[in-house]
């Protein structure tokens, strides 16, 4: 496998993924996942203790779309700008049509009347599958956050 080519693909994938969250449109976000998938945002202590509870849990692309609809249509929250930063992307296992990738993330949040703050810090543990259209889909994305004390709310996905 062309390691450098794969690295370029992943850099590009994570950059576009983050762009969908930070700059939108948010409808693009579910498109990064396979139809059957698992997306979890969970605190690190639950993960390490083997406790299953996640603060956001989606088990299909449709559930991701429902979450986007709720963010758009039903939830009340203070408007905010986010910047996700993904670093240390590392391929932990690779086959022709499946990858296991880990990466660090941090989320800077700006509320209208406050200074920017680090809203969340953690690590992705991702499983990717080859998309029939070329490229990769997330079949599983665990967003495991170290910042156990959440700064008020998590409105947007990580």
């Amino acid at each position: 496998m062309d390691v450098h080519g794969l690295r370029d693909q992943l850099e590009d994938l994570y950059a576009r993924y983050v762009e969908s969250l930070d700059d939108g449109p948010l409808d693009l976000w579910p498109e990064f996942f396979s139809v059957r998938c698992l997306y979890l945002i969970l605190p690190r202590d639950n993960y390490e203790r083997g406790l299953p509870l996640a603060v956001m849990r989606c088990e299909s692309r449709d559930m991701l779309i429902d979450r986007v609809t709720a963010i758009r249509e039903t939830m009340l929250y203070e408007q905010r700008y986010l910047r996700h930063h993904v670093t240390n992307i590392r391929v932990r296992a690779a086959a022709a049509d499946a990858l296991e990738v880990s990466a660090n993330f941090s989320v800077i949040e700006v509320l209208p009347d406050d200074l920017p703050r680090v809203a969340m810090v953690g690590r992705y543990l991702d499983k990717l599958v080859a998309s029939p259209h070329g490229g990769w889909w997330f079949a599983e994305k665990l967003c495991i956050y170290d910042s156990l004390l959440v700064a008020n709310s998590i409105i947007y996905p990580v």
Binding site: I41, L42, P43, D45, N46, R49, L51, P52, L53, A54, V55, M56, R57, C58, E59, S60, D62, M63, I65, D66, R67, T69, A70, E73, T74, M75, L76, Y77, E78, D113, L148, L149, V150, A151, N152, S153, I154, I155
Partner: protein
């Protein structure tokens, strides 16, 4: 300095705590009692006729509750009760102002010391003492007005920590299932104080403060763990699973030099103990030895709903989440005791008929007002004549993946939502099949931690566990429903902070505090403040 003066601590402007635990009057050295007892509460509860307090007494104790600046008089047997409340109030206002804004001789013949207050009182350095400023007067409309200084004032906060969280109350601290065997421990907080709950060698639950008796170190940093003893990392002072001090390195000195003072008695320096109550696997703790038995504290109606969820089955912990919410802790209770908002703010709940103003529902309080229940029954996703005021009602929103919301009946009655609020720190959440404890841990007037423990039952099958985990999407920091609440609490705090002298209006459903069979009421919030004011004596 000798041992006793070195260790003496001024508890407030009126009381000195000595090394041996005696508490005496600052002004005359009269013995006021012992540190393990809440003298202040006793003194203020004491019903004595005015004349019994001294020859010059002309006012009753109630006056001091409304104008509680004469605390010294309530505490010390040598102090006179104040005979001129007007003079007291003048002096109080005098000291509430900065020194530059006081005129000489303004107080005339009033001797401040005789009234039990002075500059340090006016700057608000203590917590048990009277409130210093004349603006700290509750509005005259019973419980249907709440002054905004209640959400911002540091002194009110300190008083809440003392009187509510360390007073005669039972605070939720965890589940027996989190402490399965001897040596299991958990750290948590009651009010703003860190505490440890652990299971001792005899299998009994014990609680004590997470503060080394030596130099105050918060020695235990793990949230859940297993140990045979607790050792402070600073000087290796070691405590057993009952919190008793078992080891002090170099107590006898080194090579005949140094060592602990000869009168040092390790038995007197254990970790401050908490009382523990456990009911059907749920664990509560209290700082106050006089707190009534837990079941009496819970009361009949609340016991029924408590045992509806905690029926004796083993609990399975599903996980934890924690939020730091930038608002006053009382706003969280107000939110859960407020069915009026649920129909309007929570579009998700309303859209899917999980909680709506036109559904069969009840608001219940215990006789004191301190605990409350919001009970409701699920409806359908249709508009009715009663929903026309709900501007946000969406009847066209369908879930693409309905597994998110696939509730099944699991409790014996027809209620599908029961939100139980237990004074002073717990919300027991049963919304459809998502069950959680929400533990309120105040950090400052403007900030509290909300600590969630999601659970199910040990005998749940896999489908039920998955159902609970999916429905948890509605709750906590990114909850489709409760995310609205933490956001609105921040906006409330942002709004009210600049208006300490204004007040909130709580007149939905009238001015009373009785139970209701509908949701268009703020009675449970009024009942909460009825009890709050009695405990706080404000």
């Amino acid at each position: 300095m000798n041992e006793s003066t070195r260790e003496a601590i001024h508890l407030d402007d009126n009381r000195v705590l000595h090394a041996d635990g005696r508490v005496s009057c600052v002004h005359c050295s009269a013995e006021l009692g012992h540190r393990d007892t809440d003298y202040l509460a006793q003194a203020l509860r004491r019903e004595r006729a005015p004349e019994a307090s001294g020859p010059n007494i002309r006012v009753k104790a109630e006056v001091f509750v409304d104008q509680p600046m004469v605390l010294r008089q309530a505490l010390c047997p040598n102090a006179m009760w104040c005979c001129k409340p007007k003079s007291c109030r003048r002096a109080m206002r005098f000291f509430a102002r900065p020194a530059s804004r006081r005129r000489e001789n303004e107080l005339g013949s009033i001797a401040p010391s005789a009234h039990g207050y002075n500059d340090s009182l006016a700057t608000g350095v203590n917590m048990n003492s009277p409130l210093p400023s004349s603006r700290r007067v509750w509005p005259n409309a019973g419980y249907s007005r709440v002054p905004y200084w209640l959400y911002t004032d540091q002194e009110i906060f300190e008083r809440e920590m003392t009187r509510i969280f360390r007073g005669p109350s039972w605070s939720f601290v965890g589940f027996a299932a989190e402490l399965p065997e001897s040596g299991s421990f958990k750290t948590t907080s009651i009010g703003n104080r860190s505490v440890i709950i652990c299971r001792n060698r005899d299998g009994e639950l014990r609680g004590f403060v997470n503060r080394c008796a030596h130099r105050g170190v918060k020695f235990c940093r793990e949230r859940l763990g297993q140990t045979s003893r607790f050792t402070c990392p600073y000087h290796q002072w070691t405590y057993d699973l009952n919190g008793a001090l078992k080891g002090v390195p170099f107590q006898g000195g080194v090579k005949g030099q140094g060592g602990m003072a000869s009168d040092f008695d390790p038995k007197q320096h254990g970790l401050q103990q908490l009382r523990i109550a456990e009911h059907h696997g749920v664990v509560f703790a209290s700082f106050d030895e006089h707190t009534e038995d837990f079941l009496d504290y819970l009361g009949e109606a609340n016991r029924y709903y408590f045992e509806r969820v905690f029926d004796g089955r083993d609990i399975r912990i599903l996980g934890y989440t924690r939020q730091l919410i930038p608002g006053n802790w009382k706003l969280m209770f107000e939110n859960i005791k407020d069915p009026y908002h649920a129909s309007l703010l929570h579009v998700f709940l309303v859209t899917f008929g999980l909680f709506r103003a036109d559904q069969e529902s009840q608001v219940k309080m215990d006789p004191t007002g301190r605990h409350g229940l919001l009970i409701s029954r699920r409806g359908s996703q249709t508009a009715s004549e009663h929903t026309k005021d709900i501007a946000n009602l969406r009847t066209d929103f369908k879930l693409r993946d309905p597994r998110l919301l696939d509730p099944v009946k699991e409790f014996k009655d027809s209620a599908t939502v029961v939100m139980q609020t237990l004074w002073p720190n717990l919300i027991i959440q049963q919304q459809s099949n998502t069950l959680a404890m929400r533990q309120i841990q105040p950090r400052s007037p403007q900030e509290f931690e909300l600590s969630w423990t999601f659970f199910g039952y040990a005998d749940d099958d896999e489908a039920m566990t998955l159902r609970r985990l999916r429905q948890a999407n509605l709750m906590s920091a990114s909850g489709l429903v409760s995310g609205d609440d933490s956001e609105i609490i921040k906006l409330a705090q942002d709004g009210l902070t600049a208006y300490p002298d204004d007040e909130a209006l709580l007149a939905m459903g009238g001015h009373d505090t009785q139970d209701e069979d509908h949701m268009v009421t703020e009675a449970a919030i009024r009942a909460f403040y009825k009890h709050y004011r009695a405990v706080m004596e404000i």
